[in-house]
């Protein structure tokens, strides 16, 4: 059987989109400069260069390590229970289910330090513009999260199709990394991920932490209770809870891996504590000396009791053990 006649020759959509990315970034720069809005984070030269180099490194890393995930999924594919083929409806169904897979990947990436170590670089800019969208990981394959695609291969979506719809999803997410667009029409905001929803995701304001994990469809956040609406009175502040002081792409790519391994290899810890530093949420510490997002939110509510129970915030301040 000639597989080439069956499997479509899908383009690498992220590579095809590169000229569009460049034109769109230039257009956004023009719009923001014309607007003269000091409240917006805008562009910064070295930050932009770092983001673009991170994006380039991501493509190179994909070329060097992408075969690992592909080989794994081809191995899984032989055990498929069905074959959806490559019809238009199979592509659409695959896109929607893969978007659900992306939601859970993304949620895990924020809730387990092992995956956060590769995802943190995407959040490391204090600016929020289209170049930030390209600030992508170099170490994604290393976390092993490609296994989340295995169920899709098992139920009958070919790995080539999975790679294609995954690329489409990333291209969709490009345009939502902007402050140049306020709100989209209500019906669109209800169904799709938008610049407003994703600004929340990139913000470090207490109410916005660990919210809006969606790739394309925001309905997953609404379904699984992680949706938080952007509020005009609490403008997003972008970056990390503990921001980084470097534009060096190598350090941006690897600093959290280094910090995590340093924590896990400290002398005097139990095995359980070492595993905690690897897999518990960012901010976890064996002695409770650091703040994770739950404590940051609780502390915020303690300082602002009128905000208790608002979307993204707990109903009451955290009660520490022993109190």
């Amino acid at each position: 059987m000639d597989l080439g006649a069956v499997i479509p020759n899908y383009p690498d959509v992220t590579q095809v989109a590169i000229p569009f990315f460049i034109i769109a970034i230039l257009a956004e720069l023009y719009v923001l400069k014309r607007a003269h809005d000091q409240r917006k984070a805008g562009f910064e030269t070295r930050d932009t260069l770092t983001s673009l180099l991170m994006g380039t490194g991501n493509v190179v890393a994909g070329l060097l390590t992408g075969f690992v995930a592909y080989a794994f999924l081809m191995w899984v594919w032989q055990f498929r229970v069905y074959d959806f083929g490559f019809s238009w409806w199979a592509v659409l169904l695959c896109f929607v289910l893969d978007d659900l897979r992306y939601y859970w990947y993304h949620r895990i990436a924020h809730r387990s330090r092992w995956v956060w170590a590769e995802h943190i670089n995407h959040h490391s800019s204090q600016h929020y513009n289209l170049s930030t969208a390209l600030r992508q990981s170099w170490t994604g394959t290393f976390t092993g999260m490609f296994v989340l695609r295995a169920p899709l291969a098992l139920i009958g979506f070919h790995p080539v199709l999975l790679a294609f719809v995954g690329g489409l999803n990333l291209v969709y997410q490009f345009w939502i990394h902007t402050e140049a667009i306020g709100k989209m029409p209500r019906w669109f905001e209800a169904v799709f991920n938008t610049p407003s929803h994703h600004r929340v995701h990139h913000a470090t304001n207490a109410r916005y932490l660990d919210a809006n994990y969606a790739g394309t469809l925001i309905v997953w956040d609404r379904m699984f209770g992680s949706f938080v609406e952007e509020r005009a009175e609490d403008m997003p502040r972008y970056g990390l809870v503990k921001n980084i002081g470097t534009f060096n792409p190598i350090k941006v790519a690897f600093h959290e891996w280094w910090a995590m391994l340093a924590d896990a290899s400290r002398p005097g810890l139990t095995v359980r504590q070492r595993l905690g530093y690897l897999f518990m949420p960012p901010g976890w510490s064996h002695d409770g000396s650091r703040d994770d997002t739950a404590r940051i939110k609780a502390n915020y509510v303690a300082r602002h009791p009128d905000q208790a129970g608002m979307p993204g915030l707990p109903a009451r301040p955290m009660v520490e053990p022993g109190e």
């Binding site: 230039l26 910064e44 030269t45």
Partner: protein, 148 residues
């Protein structure tokens, strides 16, 4: 797209975008005008902190803050933004006097933070920073606390 074309498009695109960001004012670095601005930048990230004293460097690109709980704060100019770090008492970075001038070199031992050389116009500020980061409280802060 062939590899040589892809490389060419990426290189040209990066160069064009970065050049245009630069010529439209994107390389302006944050310089803090005074201690009040440094304190405001710090409190934006650490709302619950109580700042006792702010020591701004000569060039306005760094500030060290002594906190009421004995902790130390740093504000570091990072392009047009600032990085605000907070350390609990006794858990801060290491400082040593520079060998060739009235400065303090601070090593964070953190891959995401460069070592900083802070130069203060006021020698008391330099001494206070060095004392605070070597485990002791700044001499004049102690006096202030005792008076309070």
């Amino acid at each position: 797209m062939s590899l040589p074309v892809l490389v060419g498009v990426v290189a040209f695109g990066i160069a064009l975008v970065v050049f245009l960001v630069h010529v439209t004012g994107g390389s302006t670095r944050l310089v803090m005008a005074d201690g009040a601005q440094a304190e405001a930048l710090f409190l934006a990230d650490h709302e619950d902190a109580q700042v006792r004293r702010v020591m701004l460097t000569d060039n306005g690109q760094e500030a060290v803050l002594l906190l009421a709980d004995g902790g130390i704060g740093f504000v570091h100019s990072m392009g047009s933004k600032a990085v605000a770090l907070r350390f609990k008492a006794g858990a801060g970075p290491v400082a040593k006097p520079a060998s060739d001038g009235p400065s303090v070199i601070i090593a964070f031992h953190d891959m995401s933070m460069p070592d900083l050389t802070l130069t203060f116009a006021d020698a008391r500020d330099r001494d206070s920073v060095a004392a605070a980061l070597s485990g002791g409280a700044a001499p004049d802060l102690l006096t202030e606390l005792e008076a309070a």
